[in-house]
């Protein structure tokens, strides 16, 4: 990953040490609260407890209850109140405790958050960040494991951002909070405890929202992915070397805006593409991405664009979830089906 550092780097920057994505997210909230008095964090258990995943740990202690607020347990009310706060001029950062707990707020999101700027010809932009821990792989129950991105990316007016690295967790959250548009910020909960050499004392640059990152250049096929599936794809790319495949890996970082240029360039370079995500395949983000790759790169393609996704089933119970989640073998199997023999 891009956050990997060499021994020489470490010598130059002795303060760098392994940090988790959860720590980077916490630091991004801290720095946003410190930088802008309009920023307010709110949600269920975000105060005294510091959030069920501890992403807001210490924020109420350090910034006060008015800046990091435990709300009543009602997601539509939380997001609806955030709309009014944003109308007044604040910059709310809302935590939805779990992916499936965000659904009660869906009407506020679709009917108001996504549309207020458009409805008022730009007079009432809503700079709201909605943080949602999403995805499976942590042995959680059914309603703590959903990949809900397709619901959001189908709603014009929302940005949909999801980090896959510790560095991006910091940078993309800072960028999302600074954005004047509403951002659905999907945090891959199984990467909360992933580590990288990253220092809160010298936080990474804040990347613009809407730029994909090429995590690995390849010559024979391109994996297009995001969020929790990035480490799986990088592992698959390493394993593929044994098969003689040199796979590129593109991390989208945001589904909306969708960085067509970076994806198209990476796919043209190889002529083959597999889109990987853990949410259900039918009508999922991968369908849109595969369609756009086909439209943009048709004459460069050596094989149909394939998708490796979760099955089209309700989220499985924890003891069966490994069969649902795309793993290295399923990705390599798809790569093997990219019509190599017809070259």
């Amino acid at each position: 990953m891009t956050t990997a550092t060499t021994a020489a780097d470490r010598a130059e920057a002795p303060s760098r040490k392994p940090a988790t994505m959860a720590q980077a997210l916490n630091q991004a909230l801290r720095d946003s609260l410190a930088a802008d008095p309009a920023v307010h964090v709110m949600g269920e258990d975000v105060g005294t407890l510091g959030g069920v995943f501890r992403i807001t740990d210490g924020l109420t202690r350090d910034f006060g209850e008015d800046r990091c607020t435990d709300t009543p347990l009602a997601e539509a009310g939380i997001l609806g109140a955030a709309v009014g706060m944003a109308m007044y001029g604040l910059r709310p950062v809302v935590e939805m405790q779990f992916d499936a707990f965000a659904y009660p707020a869906f009407e506020q999101l679709v009917s108001h958050v996504a549309r207020m700027r458009n409805r008022t010809r730009g007079a009432l932009p809503l700079p709201i960040t909605v943080r949602i821990p999403y995805g499976g792989g942590i042995g959680g129950v059914e309603h703590h494991s959903d990949s809900s991105e397709a619901y959001y990316l189908h709603t014009p007016g929302l940005h949909v951002v999801t980090p896959a690295t510790v560095e991006d967790a910091y940078g993309l959250l800072r960028a999302s909070i600074a954005s004047d548009d509403p951002v659905i910020f999907l945090e891959p909960k199984r990467l909360y405890w992933s580590k990288a050499d990253w220092s809160p004392q010298e936080p990474s640059a804040v990347p613009p929202i809407g730029r994909a990152a090429v995590r690995r250049t390849g010559r024979t096929a391109t994996l297009v992915t995001y969020g929790p599936s990035l480490p799986v794809c990088l592992e698959a790319a390493e394993a593929a070397e044994e098969e003689g495949w040199d796979l590129g890996v593109v991390d989208l970082r945001s589904l909306v805006p969708f960085d067509e240029e970076t994806v198209a360039a990476a796919v043209r370079a190889t002529g083959r593409a597999v889109v990987v995500h853990e949410s259900s395949g039918f009508g999922g983000a991968g369908a849109e991405i595969a369609a756009r790759i086909t439209e943009r790169c048709f004459h460069h393609l050596e094989a149909p664009v394939l998708r490796v996704a979760g099955f089209d089933i309700p989220y499985p119970p924890p003891m069966l979830e490994r069969h649902h989640l795309p793993g290295v073998d399923r990705i390599l199997d798809a790569v093997g089906r990219l019509q190599w023999e017809e070259r």
Binding site: H40, D66, T71, P72, A74, A76, G77, L79, G80, A81, A82, V83, G84, M85, A86, M87, Y88, G89, L90, P92, P104, E107, Q108, S111, H112, R115, M116, R117, N118, R119, T120, R121, G122, A123, L124, P125, P156, G157, H159, S179, D180, D181, G210, V256, P257, F258, E260, E261
Partner: protein, 366 residues
């Protein structure tokens, strides 16, 4: 002795002071009306007459195809006018789709108030300039917005109150519950005005709730409920003014139920004869908000034929102006559809805008 007998558990608040009056509060026609400020009554009267004419004109515009739809507030003008006049210029109003009259009474150009219903854009007025949120079509969803704005103002030490309007049907929505709960927990400076007009399109209140009154719902949240005759403009104005003042001074939220009646059908597209008797409508026509006030004003010698005619003439001038301007076709720019989706359009939106521009150009050529 159990833990319930110790301070570990105790009621959070005394329910009795929160309870609404047993009967809707009235002023007009009562001895207390003698204390009302004649200048205020005059203002309310002018606005009521104007509001009645506005509703008639907007309904006529639907028949002429100039409005896509109009949910009339005929019969409910007292609530609409009182809501607008109870607020100071720095306060915020959160209207529902039936509340264009309140928007107009607060000073918005009627043509701009009707933009949504005319269909040339979703909101015609600048919400920040007027401190009026866009008309909300999804029921009760504007209530948590009012709470959030009021909460933000309070956090900023800004003496601003928010008044949110909703109908009787809207009180069944989850957002009504969540908004009232948040408002009470946060002690947000917000006032909820429920216009109980008897019907949610066709469904009567009896099928909507088993609460003693809608005002009683306040008690469960720990805020006061007030019950008021929604056709008595002086009473509604006084109750709302007190609640707004209390909110602004840090006293917390209030739920006000104004008992009124929707004289017209739900909209011009609805047929009210399918679900209610004409005799019921006639009974409410005899309790008309304009007549109630005029009776009071006449009895106190504050309204003669000449003054009444002046109010009617002013209302007619407003209606004529509205009619004339609504008969002009609005200017439409289809490419604006892409301009306000995001602060900066995405690449995909830029491409779609280019496609639409090409289609428009081809239309012009043919």
């Amino acid at each position: 002795m159990t833990v319930l007998d110790t301070p570990a558990w105790r009621p959070r608040t005394d329910a009795a002071p929160l309870l609404p009056d047993p009967e809707p509060y009235r002023l007009l026609g009562t001895p207390a009306a003698a204390d009302l400020d004649p200048a205020l009554l005059g203002r309310l009267h002018g606005q009521l007459v104007r509001g009645r004419r506005y509703n008639a004109q907007a309904t006529a515009l639907t028949k002429q195809g100039r409005l896509a739809v109009y949910p009339s507030s005929t019969g409910q003008e007292a609530c609409e006018i009182a809501a607008a006049l109870a607020l100071s210029p720095r306060d915020w109003l959160f209207p529902s789709y039936r509340d264009t009259l309140a928007v107009v009474a607060r000073g918005v150009d009627p043509v701009e108030a009707l933009t949504l219903l005319r269909g040339d854009w979703h909101t015609g007025y600048d919400p920040r300039e007027h401190r009026i949120a866009p008309l909300s079509t999804p029921l009760a969803t504007q209530l948590p917005h009012a709470v959030g704005l009021a909460h933000a103002a309070r956090l900023s030490g800004d003496p601003v109150a928010a008044l949110a309007m909703v109908g009787d049907g809207g009180t069944s929505e989850g957002d009504f519950h969540e908004a009232l709960n948040f408002a009470a927990v946060w002690q947000a400076p917000v006032v909820f005005l429920v216009q109980n007009n008897g019907f949610a399109i066709s469904v009567p209140l009896a099928k909507q709730t088993a609460a003693p009154t809608l005002a009683h719902k306040a008690v469960g949240y720990g805020m006061p409920g007030r019950l008021v005759d929604g056709n008595d403009v002086a009473a509604v104005h006084q109750v709302l003014s007190e609640a707004v003042e209390r909110a602004r001074e840090g006293g917390g939220p209030t739920l006000v139920e104004a008992v009124t009646y929707r004289i017209d059908a739900h909209t011009n597209a609805d047929d009210a004869t399918r679900y209610r008797e004409e005799s019921e409508v006639a009974a409410w026509r005899a309790h008309d908000p304009v007549e109630l006030l005029e009776r009071e004003l006449t009895a106190r010698g504050l309204l003669d034929d000449a003054a009444r005619q002046r109010a009617l003439d002013e209302a007619e001038a407003m209606a004529a102006d509205l009619r004339e301007r609504m008969h002009e076709d609005p200017e439409l720019d289809p490419t604006e559809l892409f301009e306000h989706v995001y602060a900066e359009p995405t690449q995909q939106l830029r491409e779609q805008a280019a496609q639409l521009r090409a289609e428009l150009e081809a239309e012009r050529q043919s």
